[in-house]
Symmetry: C2
Subunit: 337 residues, 2 copies
DNA sequence: CTGTTAGCGCATTCAA
DNA sequence: TTGAATGCGCTAACAG
C-alpha cells in the first residue's frame, strides 16, 4: 500500500479511502491511485485489514463432527454457502466442532465475524453458547422456539402437507411416514424429524386420513428391513412418505423382493431429498426436493445482513421443498369408495 | 494479553513465549502465566498473531465451481480435510474458484498459508498459477507429470489391477469398463478417468483378457442407456467395472429390465466409490471404495509438512481403494474352459 | 530466563 | 479533499 501511495503521489490514507470508498476522493486522484494499483497488481492484505477494522470477513460453517456422516444432499449446502459468501466478499471456513473447546475457540479467537450453524437440534446447547459469546450467528434449521433467532429452514409443515395432498389427490387414504429416527446421544431431537412427524400427524388428522408412522436408520439395509416391517404392520397402506434418502433404495428394492410393485401396489414419495437421489431408485421416485442451495445462500445472506446491522429483512425464512414428479406415485390399485 | 501479563507480573513477551513455547520459560513463571490466562479466559487473537507472524494458519480447499456437482463420496474429503486441519491448529476455508480472478485473490491477499487443490486435471492451468504465485500447495489428484509436486491420489493403477484380478480370479475373461467420460470444457482430462482407462487397457492386455471400454454421463439415466448399449456392443462380456457411481444404479436396474441378472449373467464391480453408494444398488454392489477420508487427511498433512519445511516425508502418496465384497460379483455362468 | 521494542498492513481519527 | 499519526494484538529480534 505504501508503494501504491508513493507511485500515485498520495498518502497511504488516500489509498485506503479509494479502495474502500470510505471517504470522498477526487476523480483525478482516484484515477491515479487506481492506475498505480493496476501497475503494481496491488491487493490489500486481508490480515492487515482484519486487524485494523476488527472484521475478518470470515464466516464459519459450524457442523457437528463425530456424528452421522453427511448425506448426498448436504454437500450443496457447503458449496452454496461458500459461493454466496464469496460473492459478498466473505470467506467460509469449515468448523467441525465435536466439543465445547472447539466452540470456544471459534468464538474467542476473533477469527470469524459470524457463524452459520447446521444440523440444529430442537434443544441445541450450541445456540446458548453462541448467544453467550456474543458471536453473531444464523441457523440452518430451528430450535424449538426460534422466534428470537435468525434462521432459514425447510418449511416442513407445508412440504409435508403438500406431499400428503399429492397422495390424497391420487386417491390414497392410508398413508405412512418413514423417517430417519430421532437419533440418539447428541443428535437427539433432530429438528427435521421432530417437525415432520408433527406436521404429518396433524395434517393426516385434519384430512381425516389413516396415518402410520415409523422410522429406520439411515442406510439401505435398514430400509430393506423397514419394507418388511411396513408390510406386516400397515397392510392397508397404499401411500408412503419417506424422509430418509439413504434408506429409500433399500426400501424400494425390499418391496420389490416381497413382490410389491411401486407404484402399483404402493406409492412412494421421497421427502426433503433431491432429484439425483430420487433417480438412484428403480422406479425413479417422485420427490419433494430440498432447497439446499437456496438455504445455503439465504443463510449466509441473513448472517451478513445481521453483521451489517441490516435487520430490516425478515429474520426467518422457511422454504418449501419442490415437487418433482417421478414414477413412484400413482392412484391406488383399489381406490377408496 | 496485556492483561494477562499484568496479572502474572510478567511482560507481554513472556506471555507470548509461554503460549507458543517459543522460548524457554521457567516453570514458576509459566505456572503464573497459565493461571492468569485461565482466570481471564484468555485466547490469543488469531488475527494479531497472523499479522505479526505472517502465518494465518488458514488453508484453502480449492475446487472448481460451476462444474459438475459433487458426488456423494466427495463430502468426506471436505470434512476429513477440515478435521485434520483443526487437529494441527489450522483452519480450512472453502474456495470455489470459477475464474482466474478468484484464484488471484486466493494467492495475493495473504489470507491463506497454503492451498489444497481438488479435482485436478491432467493439464491443469491452476497448478501453474499457483506455482507462479509462490503459494505452497498440494494436490488431491495428479497432473500428467506430477513428479515435482506434492500430491496424494488414488492408486488407480493398482486398484484397477486388483479389480480385474478379482473378476479374473472368478473366471471372467471378457471384462468391460464403464467410466464417467473425459468431460468437456474445463473438466476435460479429468485425471481419474485418464488413469483408469490407461490402467485398464494395460492390465487387461497383460492378462490376455478381452477388454471393452465405454463411458456415460454421471447420472442414473445415462447408466440405464449404457446398459442397453453394453449388451448390444459387448454381448460376450461377463464382468464389468464401473467407475461412475452415479450411473451405477441406472445401469444395474437397466440390466434387470433387460432380463440380465447381476451377478449371474453379469458381474459388476464398482470402482472408486463407497460402500454406502454400493449399498444403494440392488443387489448391493461389490466395491473398491475410495479412500476419501485418508486422502483428505494426508493431503492436509502433506501441505502442513511443506509449510513447516519438513519435506523429508514422501511428497507423493498413492492410496489404493479397498475391496469390499458385495453381492454383485460371482463366477460367470459358463466359465471359460 | 525475561523485558523492551519495533513493526506486521491497514483503517481511521484528527488536522490541515 | 487529503495527509499525518495512532493503534489493532501479537511475534520476534535484541538486550539484559
Amino acid at each position: 500500500m505504501q508503494d501504491v501511495a508513493k507511485l500515485a503521489n498520495v498518502s497511504i490514507a488516500t489509498v485506503s479511502f479509494t479502495v474502500n470508498n470510505t471517504k470522498p476522493v477526487s476523480p483525478a486522484t482516484r484515477a491515479r491511485v487506481e492506475a498505480a494499483m493496476q501497475e503494481l497488481g496491488f491487493r490489500r492484505n486481508a490480515v492487515g485489514r482484519a486487524l485494523a477494522s476488527k472484521r475478518t470477513h470470515i464466516l464459519a460453517l459450524l457442523y457437528p463432527a463425530l456424528q452421522h456422516r453427511f448425506r448426498g444432499t448436504v454437500v450443496d449446502f457447503f458449496t452454496s454457502a461458500a459461493s454466496t459468501a464469496n460473492e459478498h466478499g466473505y470467506n467460509l471456513v469449515l468448523w467441525p466442532a465435536a466439543n465445547d473447546a472447539e466452540l470456544d475457540e471459534l468464538t474467542s479467537t476473533g477469527l470469524v465475524d459470524g457463524v452459520l450453524l447446521m444440523e440444529v437440534q430442537v434443544e441445541d446447547p450450541r445456540v446458548e453458547q453462541l448467544q453467550a459469546s456474543k458471536t453473531p450467528f444464523a441457523l440452518i434449521g430451528r430450535t424449538a422456539d426460534p422466534s428470537a433467532l435468525d434462521y432459514v429452514d425447510i418449511d416442513f409443515e407445508n412440504t409435508i402437507a403438500a406431499a400428503i395432498d399429492h397422495l390424497a389427490g391420487l386417491g390414497h387414504t392410508s398413508i405412512g411416514l418413514l423417517d430417519g429416527g430421532l437419533g440418539r446421544g447428541q443428535l437427539r431431537g433432530y429438528g427435521p424429524v421432530v417437525r415432520a412427524r408433527a406436521a404429518f400427524a396433524e395434517t393426516m388428522a385434519a384430512r381425516g386420513l389413516t396415518a402410520y408412522s415409523t422410522s429406520c436408520d439411515e442406510s439401505p439395509g435398514a430400509g430393506r428391513e423397514a419394507a418388511t416391517r411396513l408390510l406386516d404392520d400397515a397392510p392397508g397402506m397404499t401411500g408412503l412418505l419417506i424422509m430418509n434418502e439413504h434408506a429409500a433404495p433399500g426400501l424400494v428394492s425390499g418391496l420389490r423382493h416381497r413382490g410389491i410393485s411401486v407404484p402399483d401396489d404402493l406409492s412412494v414419495l421421497l421427502i426433503a431429498s433431491s432429484r439425483e437421489m430420487a433417480a438412484m431408485n428403480d422406479p425413479e421416485l417422485t420427490v419433494m426436493s430440498a432447497p439446499s442451495i437456496e438455504l445455503g445462500r439465504r443463510g449466509v445472506e441473513l448472517l451478513i445482513d445481521h453483521l451489517n446491522g441490516r435487520s430490516d429483512h425478515d429474520r426467518h425464512a422457511l422454504v418449501m421443498c419442490a415437487f418433482e414428479q417421478g414414477n413412484s406415485t400413482a392412484p391406488p390399485r383399489h381406490p377408496a369408495a
